[in-house]
């Protein structure tokens, strides 16, 4: 039965997920995601890059959402004084492109999401599912002997659930 499976059974080995050092730019992260999508298409889920430090320790995850927020021009960012309204985007005009290009030079460390939770390789996949919903993440590091060995994806867990629910 699939719910007997552990995190280790469903994880994607670490080397199969794209990585990036934290001081690299958002621009590079975008190039990596574009290339990976070209290679794997729809099976590349969630569209994210793992961020490592120089000692190859996992620091965070950079998702499409993180990148887009990271590229957001300063004049669109909310401050304590100004509440952003989507309608205000009409004001951006031709500035959006160039401004986003400038912003793409920011290091990924400024835009990434920190790791909120991990599971152990031996943990049942149901625990992983629970953590993902709780933390609202699509990707979860799997620890093996105290080191990150792979990633669990919401889409893979969903696949397992589907098989159980649909009965095939």
């Amino acid at each position: 039965m699939s719910y007997q499976k552990t995190a280790k059974d469903l994880m994607i080995p670490l080397e199969d997920y794209p990585h990036i050092p934290y001081w690299f730019s958002l621009r590079e992260a975008m190039a990596i995601i574009r290339e990976v999508v070209a290679k794997f298409g729809g099976s590349y889920e969630p569209r994210a890059v793992l961020v490592f430090d120089e000692k190859y320790q996992l620091m965070g995850i950079l998702t499409l959402r993180d990148i887009i927020i990271g590229l957001e021009p300063k004049f669109l960012q909310e401050t304590g004084l100004i509440k952003m309204d989507p309608s205000l985007t009409v004001l951006t005009g031709d500035n959006l492109g160039p401004k986003m290009k400038d912003q793409s030079q920011r290091p990924v460390s400024e835009a990434m999401s920190p790791i909120k939770a991990t599971v152990d390789a031996k943990d049942p996949f149901a625990k992983a599912l629970y953590l993902m919903i709780q933390e609202n993440v699509g990707l979860l590091p799997v620890m093996y002997d105290g080191k990150v060995a792979g990633m669990l994806r919401l889409s893979d867990l969903f696949g397992e659930i589907s098989r159980t629910v649909l009965g095939d």
Binding site: L14, E15, Y17, P18, H19, I20, P21, Y22, W23, F24, S25, E28, A31, I32, E35, V36, A38, K39, F52, D53, E54, K55, Y56, Q57, L58, M59, G60, P107, S109, E110, P114, I115, T118, P141, M143, Y144, G146, K147, V148, A149
Partner: protein, 828 residues
Amino acid sequence: MAEKYAHFQRLLAANNAVLALMSDMEEKLSGDFLFDLQFIRASVSQIVQETGAVVAALNDMAEGRYEGLAHSLRHISLELEEALSQRREIAKAPLTLSFDQLNLEMAETAGGKSANLGEVRNSTGLPVPSGFAISTYAYKVFLDANHLTARITEMLGRWRMDDLDSLARVSEELKQMINQAQVPRELESAINAAYEGLCLPGRERPLVAMRSSAVGEDLTLTFAGQYATYLNVPPGELVSRYKDIVASLFTPRALFYYKNKGFREEEMAMGVAVLPMIDSQASGVLFTRQPEAPEQDAILINAVWGLGKYAVGGVINPDHYLVAYQPPGQVLEQRIPPKEFMLVNLPGGGVQKTPVPPEKVRAPCLTPEHLQQLARWAATLEAHYQRPQDVEWALDGEDRLWLLQSRPLQVPAKRSAEVKARTLKQYPVLLDQGSIACRGVGAGPVVLMRQDEDLKNFPPGGVLVARHTSPKYVTVMPQAAAIITDAGSPTGHMALLAREFRVPTILNTGKATQILQPGQEVTVDANYNNVYAGIINELLEPPQAKVNDLADSPVFRTLKTVLKKIIPLNLINPQGANFTPAGCRTIHDLVRYAHEFSMREMFKLTESEILAGRGVMDLDSGLPFKVRILDLGGGVKKGWKRNVRPEQIISIPFQAFWQGLTDIRWPQGKPAGAKSFSSVFVKSEEEVAQGADPYRDQSYVVLSEHYMNFSIHLGYHLSAVEAYVSDQINDNYLTFTFRGGGSTPERRERRARLIEAIVDRMDLNYQRQGDTIKARLAKYPLEQMRQRLVWFGKLTLYTKQLDMALFSEGIVDWYIKDFIREHLQLKV
């Protein structure tokens, strides 16, 4: 350490001196320069000395591990000495020789003029008066009897070609010496006996013409008019005239000519041609071709009344005939000016200028029959000698024509430098800059040299285009139409070889490999530094066979012999089995070997050596980069302390490299408080310990003003950049090695592929094995070396842990393009 580097610098300086001397000597082979034996001697001794310095410096660098090289040098220098000190003895021979005994091969014994007369008389049957030669051995006997040989050698050594003032003095002393000398009795008797042989019973005892017949005279070199000639000499004056002719060997004019053509003293031997005086009613000169139009089959004849001296001396205006070979003697052109005077024999000896009888002043000297006969002679002589001849003839009182002299006619060679326009505007110019290493014009399809393998398929007539010069290209030089490179210097190894093979070569064009497309047909004008698109026949006009009138002179033979021990390169491939000290057979081999191994020795600097060195500093850059510095001298501003800032470092290569290094974002701004998770890629303490590399995060740089050897430990990879950058193109080089990485083997190899592609775009030669890259570049000008170092600085940081990001081959391609476009600012 600092000492080792000082030796290295010494080696580079001496190496350059050797290469410069080599190209200087080789240039002399073109025949466009004046030089003498002294020049060769001086050059050879300098070359041996500088090569000795190269070898000594290498041994000092390596604690005497290259003693074998010193041995090879001794061997080569002995061979050189031998080639230089060969003295040719004047061979023993009869004191006099009848013309009947002579031919061209006896030129050493009889002198050029007599040998030629003997040759014509005995091999063509043309009428040459029966005369005799006083041999060069007689000259030796004459000098020896008076103990003059050593004194002459000593006096000739006293002046050099660039010192014309002392020339007249030396000449005067030498002539006096000869005049005061006694002709030994045996020689006097021999001359008189030979003269008696000319006298026919029952005929008048003839007066004679005595003409110089020096060694080398009238052979390839003419010595025209250098030496004395006496006409209508009575028998009693034979011996004193003989001395006068010998003395003419030492007129300032003749001495200069001798020195200019590089004869040795012992080769300056004077023979004399003695022939019965023809009582000529007319005489003159015949050229079997016109010097200014040698391609036309026409014979040029000048004629005057009386003796021939006036035909060449410019005293009177001679008859001028241009006649055809076919039909023989047909007049193509004829001018008969009035000839008011003539030179005639006096009955008791000597000659005299007398008025021409009025009825003959405006009359032609020669009849159509004479012209026809002379035309046939011309045909006979050209057929025999296979080259144009300059002939003296005389017409005697019985209407018989005599041949008095035949010697090679100098047809001036077109100088290759007189190529038409500088740049032909009507053709597309692809390249118009560079350094010419070997002049000439060549055309053919472009063949790009990327790897050594490309040499194997080099097509005959191809134009070799490469980034660097490489002596390995010698293997295709015989079939290459031309050579063009991006970098390199005309005094480098390959340039010397290109000249040896006479391949038109342009170096240091900067961009040939980018502009020229493989297979594209181009015309390389290495006279004016232009490369045109297409084949331009106008430039390729068959060059006049280059007649080098010096080519057979003794100084040339010596230069050629000597250069054979200097120029050829046998050690072509450093991986070759003969790349050993014992394999060095020429000076070129020696310096190439020493240069190669000096770089290896320099690069062998180990960390222990560095740590042992004094003058160690740490770099204070504010960056997360631990760098320990060793200054060999001149690399860091004076007054440094334990910590130096980058701007205090004045080393040229370091400054450039650092500029690049700081142009790329460093790992900084690590978010505080974010939790990091160790990953399976992190090396355990044990792994690090097994690597036995306690200085993992420590980088080292050894510096001087022009040198940098930077061992960089950044993250998990090791790279090393070594460079020498100066104004001396020949010394400049850069090596780059890169290996290792913390990521998966796949990703590390992807990074290596990326570096490979970028290094290729930076015009370096490289080798890759797995994740290890070695790249090298040499002989680029200073600015371009600096540029490469800036690029390497960028690349070094750009690739720091880049392997991590190299998820797929596609992303590798993206990164390659990104770096080339954003950081090299070149087209992708």
